[in-house]
């Protein structure tokens, strides 16, 4: 009998393990963050209390958190649906920009007298279409040439970013306010603005929640979802069973891009009221990948995780009173991502202590 902990793969862990491991990962990330805060010369206790206060304590902080969680739910879903099929769409960032550009463009182009419901429907649809098309640029080569989509979606992020910058900072485009002294976008009309629930919280949240529900149901309850999950687990077997893998790559990436595009449209319509490249390029797409990973690609899980990360982002600026730079927020996100990734090992494998290992007859 050796005194080594042995590792054994397991199929599907029990519910307590499935919930416990991510929670333990989050706790570990919080501890690691505390160490960094200590090294930076501040009190972790103070910092975390400030963050809690700034993000969850009271109606105003809570609405701020939910405003930030709204796009993160959508980008989290965008990553979750693609990753579930092992299609690595790292391009939610750029798809979100293109959605924002399209939504702002239509909001400015349509007559101001357009009825609000129609206007909102059109700009959200425009965001979805633009995001889907932008993702399609990577989806087509992936589907037909098996081109590495990690690289293509990522390159398209930068292209979209510079294109958006060009529209506002690099030219006097249709999007830019010609009167303003400093480069900035034109304000969209009242009809194009999402109505407010409370404080700055807008009805985009409901759109995001609805998307999460629909996606959750589609993945579990439809043939489309079944095929998507099957292809994710085994593309070769799925092809043998007669599923169209390339068709599915196109539809999944388009859907993923559409979700990110809607996030961009909602940011313009509900929060910024204009195409503001600096305010929109805040890594919402990348944070969505973290959200999806923590939620273990479950669309319903994406919602609470997005709220949690929204709270982390919302509390960033408040940390300056605790003597910390707002950049710590990115670090915390990274730590969460890292520990959650490590946690996957404990979900996929069972650790056997020496005694149990001997009992089951392992070497």
């Amino acid at each position: 009998m050796t005194l080594r902990v042995s590792v054994e793969p397991r199929a599907r862990p029990a519910l307590p393990v499935r919930l416990g491991v991510p929670v333990a990962s989050l706790a570990a990330a919080g501890l690691a963050g505390a160490v960094v805060i200590l090294i930076a010369g501040a009190s972790p206790f103070e910092a975390y209390r400030t963050m809690l206060d700034a993000s969850l304590n009271g109606l105003r902080p809570l609405t701020r958190t939910l405003v930030l969680a709204t796009p993160l739910i959508l980008t989290g879903l965008a990553a979750a649906v693609a990753f579930r099929m092992k299609v690595w769409n790292i391009g939610a960032e750029g798809q979100l920009y293109m959605g924002a550009i399209a939504a702002a463009g239509l909001a400015l182009a349509l007559p101001p007298g357009t009825p609000k419901p129609l206007m909102l429907l059109v700009i959200l649809a425009a965001g979805a279409v633009a995001g889907a098309l932008w993702a399609g640029l990577a989806a087509l080569p992936k589907a037909y040439f098996n081109t590495n989509e990690v690289i293509t979606t990522l390159m398209l992020n930068f292209v979209a970013l510079y294109f958006m910058n060009y529209l506002i900072f690099g030219s006097v485009s249709f999007w830019r306010d010609p009167e303003a002294m400093f480069p900035q976008g034109k304000l969209i009309g009242d009809a194009a603005q999402l109505p407010i629930i409370s404080h700055r919280l807008h009805y985009g949240l409901l759109v995001a929640l609805a998307a999460a529900l629909v996606l959750w149901w589609s993945l579990r309850g439809t043939t489309w979802g079944f095929e998507l999950r099957t292809i994710g687990d085994s593309p070769a077997a799925s092809r043998y069973a007669g599923m169209s893998v390339s068709g599915k790559i196109l539809s999944v990436l388009a859907l993923s891009g559409a979700l990110a595009g809607v996030a961009g449209a909602i940011e313009v319509s509900g929060v910024l009221k204009t195409l503001d490249p600096r305010a929109i390029a805040t890594e919402l797409g990348f944070t969505g990948i973290v959200v999806a990973a923590v939620a273990r690609l479950n669309p319903l899980g994406v919602v609470p995780v997005a709220v949690l990360l929204g709270a982390v982002v919302a509390s960033g600026t408040s940390l300056q009173t605790a003597g910390l730079e707002a950049e710590i927020v990115f670090l915390l996100q990274g730590l969460i991502f890292l520990f959650v990734a490590a946690g996957e090992f404990f979900l996929a494998n069972r650790l056997l202590l020496p005694r149990t290992a001997a009992a089951v007859g392992s070497p």
């Binding site: 640029l137 293509t152 910058n165 950049e327 710590i328 990115f330 670090l331 490590a342």
Partner: protein
């Protein structure tokens, strides 16, 4: 002669391509072992901030590059642990590295009493060779006008190519990347070799980031790599996992990244946003073209086990 557009643009392409070269070459070696580390952007950033800090502290270029390389290697060690030992999905782990590296470098590089804020780096990056050589027409600036790090990078590329194709150790590395089970059966330590070359790749990316901060930009800025790490990941594919092609590809992309400068001295006006876009558009297109031709895609083929964790008992 030596201040013509062509000569100046080739020189600036080499300067701008050198950080990408270190990162690309490191990733070539990592991927040759079968490990894909997408975290190059994060490792370059952490290498950049550490190297710049070390440069400010010591004023010594070599110590600064070493510090940057070590910082990149430490970060890549996390990827090694996750990807090799814990067999976590390598794409997820690599992305986590990008976010951690970006966050940590931004946090360290901007915290209140950080010595990095508005500091000049005290490191001198001088040309290596005597002026007489550097003043030769055309070949002077292009071949003889560089700082020692550029020449070192050429030596390292040559050494890496020799190592990969002409030594037993290089054969072992390639064997682990192509067929880890066979390599394991032949008595090689698959995990050991993968750990080592993941760290080597991280060291390369860290050195690249440090060189970028110290010699190319001359300062530290949050997010200073602006996608250079991702370009490096793509160049590994374009270079077909070969060291000399990595050098050529890095300089081509150095040229694309400095195209604005080149066009400016040539008197052509193009909006800067479109200039910034070009390396990414070109990468996007070239990756597609490479994959679109199945004959070619097979010839330049990736290491067969790239991205797949290896576990002996899983056979």
């Amino acid at each position: 002669m030596n201040d013509t557009v062509l000569v100046l643009s080739i020189v600036s392409a080499i300067v701008a391509g050198t950080p990408i070269l270190f990162a690309t070459l490191g990733e070539v070696l990592t991927e040759r072992s079968g490990v894909m580390n997408l975290g190059v952007e994060g490792m370059m950033l952490i290498g950049g901030v550490t190297g710049f800090w070390a440069g400010v502290q010591t004023g010594n270029l070599w110590l600064a590059l070493l510090a940057g390389g070590l910082a990149g290697a430490v970060l890549s060690g996390i990827h090694a642990l996750l990807a090799i030992s814990l067999r976590v999905n390598q794409i997820v782990s690599g992305l986590a590295l990008v976010i951690v590296g970006g966050g940590l470098s931004a946090f360290w590089g901007s915290s209140g009493d950080s010595p990095l804020i508005q500091s000049f780096n005290g490191v001198r990056v001088d040309p290596l060779l005597p002026e007489a050589l550097r003043d030769l027409p055309a070949v002077g600036p292009i071949l003889f006008g560089h700082d020692p790090v550029v020449y070192l990078s050429w030596l390292i590329v040559a050494a890496a190519a020799y190592f990969l194709y002409r030594t037993n150790a290089g054969l072992s590395l390639r064997a682990v990347g192509e067929d880890p089970a066979a390599a394991d059966a032949a008595g090689l330590s698959v995990a050991g070799i993968r750990y080592l070359f993941t760290l080597v790749g991280g060291f390369g990316a860290g050195v690249g980031g440090a060189y970028l901060a110290l010699a190319v930009l001359g300062t530290w800025q949050t997010g200073m790599t602006a996608g250079a790490g991702w370009i490096a990941v793509a160049l590994v594919i374009l270079a077909g996992w070969r060291p000399w092609l990595a050098l050529a590809a890095s300089y081509v992309f150095g040229a694309l990244r400095t195209l604005g400068f080149t066009l400016q001295i040539a008197g052509v006006e193009v909006p800067s946003d479109f200039l910034n876009m070009i390396p990414f558009v070109v990468t996007f297109l070239v990756v597609i073209v490479v994959s679109a031709n199945p004959e070619r895609a097979r010839r330049v083929g990736a290491p067969a086990s790239l991205g797949e964790p290896y576990a002996r008992e899983a056979r």
